[in-house]
């Protein structure tokens, strides 16, 4: 494996996204959304809210936005190049398929992380300049967790980009993934939970007891893992995620959640490499 080849491919991905102004557009969008949420996001609030409240307001938005941005960024990485014809030339060079795919992943990861850091970072600095209570650590955790969430979807989209033979199918797959993780799975999980717990007891004022399997189940949805991670590290942030409002078992820790997000990234990246190695171009 040659690092210079990987760096060249990663650099090209970044340059390509700078040239099509993708980085600028998304960074500005992140910054504007954060500022809007901070200024207008809380009911009954007046003017700038501190970073903690901003994070709470942003968390749900991020679970919708960041996955779709990562999916858009990566769904055509492989199949798009194959369809266009540029993959032929790339693979005819003295570079292995592994070097090519890791270079592409690192380049796109750089683009995504850069937009998140610049977008949320710039907005964070503006908010910090206008409020007295500034918790940079929490905001740093929020940005870090958001990057992890983005990388998960980048990795999944990269895999999708290797399994389909048409760009349009890969796009359909990416849209399905977004619905799956943001709409379908949360509803299914809540539905399953509702069928197993006794709501009458909860209505009578008893604390809700959520079975361990439910917490385990949420690990299969990266957006739930992301919300839970922010809850553990910062405080309750998501109304969508039941596990963030209820007592969790001891094993359901920040470390586990970070590990799960990393596992999502690694597993789907390995699957993408495996598929790409075997693909006829």
């Amino acid at each position: 494996m040659k690092t210079d080849v990987i760096i060249s491919i990663a650099k090209k991905e970044i340059m390509d996204n700078i040239r099509n102004k993708w980085i600028i557009l998304v960074s500005v969008m992140f910054a504007l959304l954060t500022l809007v949420v901070s200024y207008f996001g809380s009911l009954g609030s007046h003017g700038w809210q501190d970073l903690g409240i901003t994070i709470s307001g942003m968390a749900n938005l991020v679970t919708f936005l960041v996955p779709i941005i990562a999916l858009i960024l990566a769904y055509a990485t492989i199949i798009g190049e194959i369809e266009r014809g540029s993959m032929n030339s790339l693979l005819s060079l003295s570079a292995t398929r592994f070097e090519i795919i890791i270079g592409k992943f690192l380049g796109l990861a750089g683009v995504l992380c850069f937009t998140i850091i610049i977008g949320f970072g710039a907005a964070g600095l503006m908010i910090a300049a206008n409020v007295s209570n500034v918790n940079y650590v929490d905001y740093g955790i929020f940005i870090g967790a958001t990057m992890l969430l983005g990388l998960v979807f980048l990795s999944v989209a990269l895999f999708f980009s290797t399994i389909f033979n048409k760009r349009s199918t890969a796009m359909g797959g990416a849209i399905f993934l977004w619905f799956l993780f943001n709409i379908i799975l949360p509803i299914v999980f809540i539905g399953l939970l509702a069928t197993t717990i006794d709501i009458t007891k909860f209505a009578a004022g008893n604390p809700i007891v959520v079975p361990d399997w439910y917490h385990a189940l949420t690990l299969f949805n990266p957006t739930s893992v992301y919300s839970s991670l922010l809850t553990f590290a910062i405080g309750p942030v998501s109304s969508m995620n039941a596990s963030s409002m209820i007592p969790a078992p001891a094993w359901y820790s920040s470390g586990l959640l970070i590990g799960v997000l990393l596992a999502w990234i690694i597993v789907f990246f390995v699957l993408a490499v495996w598929r790409f190695q075997r693909k006829d171009i």
Partner: protein, 353 residues
């Protein structure tokens, strides 16, 4: 059967000839039409351009998709410094073969070696020697020509200054900051050729290099191919422009329905098909004496007359004797045209249903 390279004594063009050791081969230089003969030496035949000096070796290549066999047991060798034309109708398996040679497609059976290195197991090493121009040339549309070439130069470890030189050479010097996405098809094709020769690779694999080019572009690409050959580059070229292939290639391979049906020099293939040159001679006054003098020559297949013109089909080696016979019989030759068997005829014969 042995294959060897000979140089034309007049114009120094390298010509590939095939034959049995000790066999005398009569040949005509494709560049200057100088005629000559060459006997394949016994000693050299033992070292004929084979495994050790071969640049591209394809052996038993087979690629199937479900129940469809796109390429079936294809074997050929492209020798160092030669231009090998790869021909076939649409869907015959040309691109599948080329893609397999670069491991873009994983073959079901067979071996492919580039400079003796197995492409399947040591692809990265083998591909160091190759410059490739695909049928569908594509670049990164958001980048300029220079940015694109610099990216490929980085991976090829080619000097970056070469990129500017190549862009100028291929007439793209004035594109500046224009994105490749805004280029015409011809411009993209020229940039594709520039990318293929970037770093002066010892082997060039060109899949329809002239597709979509205007006549000036076709000439530019053809001249570049010949220039690369002069530098010793081995060139494998697939094209539908048969006249061009005949003009530039030392040998050709013809693939039809996934099977390599022929490979040899164009002359060699013509000989195998018993295709003969046609001589058209116009004389001042055509007489029966002249006609009979030609008809009675051995090696003359047919003689047709039209007005004062004779159309003669004969063995290649008999052309001079035919002209001499016409002169001796009192024919005052006013016009003389020779038409060698064309690659088109060869192609049509080998690919007919």
């Amino acid at each position: 059967m042995a294959t060897t390279l000979v140089k034309c004594l007049t114009c120094k063009t390298t010509i590939t000839i095939s034959g049995e050791p000790g066999e005398k081969i009569f040949l005509t230089c494709p560049q200057c039409n100088q005629k000559g003969a060459f006997t394949i030496p016994e000693e050299k035949s033992a070292k004929t351009i084979g495994t050790n000096s071969a640049t591209i070796e394809v052996n038993g290549l087979t690629k199937s998709y479900n129940h469809f066999t796109a390429v079936n047991n294809v074997s050929f060798t492209v020798n160092k410094g030669e231009i090998f034309g790869f021909l076939g109708p649409n869907g015959a398996g040309k691109t599948t073969t080329i893609k397999s040679m670069l491991d873009l497609i994983h073959a079901n059976k067979g071996t492919i070696k580039i400079n003796g290195i197995d492409v399947r197991s040591h692809g990265k090493e083998a591909k160091k020697y190759v410059g490739y121009m695909p049928e569908k040339v594509a670049f990164y549309d958001n980048l300029t020509a220079l940015q694109n070439l610099r990216f490929y130069a980085e991976i090829k470890h080619a000097p970056k200054e070469e990129c500017i030189h190549l862009i100028e050479e291929f007439g793209l010097g004035d594109t500046g900051k224009k994105r490749v996405g805004k280029f015409s098809k011809g411009m993209v094709q020229r940039l594709g050729m520039a990318r293929a020769i970037l770093g002066t690779p010892p082997i060039l694999i060109l899949d329809e290099p002239s597709g979509g080019l205007d006549p000036r572009g076709v000439v530019l690409i053809r001249d570049k191919i010949l220039e690369m050959k002069k530098k010793g580059t081995t060139i494998f070229v697939s094209s539908h422009i048969l006249s061009e292939i005949q003009e530039i290639c030392d040998r050709v391979g013809i693939i039809n329905k996934g099977v390599l049906v022929a490979q040899d020099t164009v002359d060699g293939l013509s000989k195998k098909l018993n295709l003969k040159p046609q001589i058209t001679v116009t004389v001042g006054s055509l007489s029966a004496k002249i006609e009979n003098a030609v008809k009675n020559l051995p090696g003359v297949d047919s003689v047709k007359t039209q007005g004062n013109t004779l159309e003669i089909v004969c063995d290649g080696a008999m052309k001079a004797k035919v002209i001499l016979a016409i002169s001796t019989a009192g024919g005052n030759i006013q016009n003389l045209q020779t038409k060698e068997p064309s690659l088109e005829e060869v192609f049509m014969r080998y690919t007919e249903v």
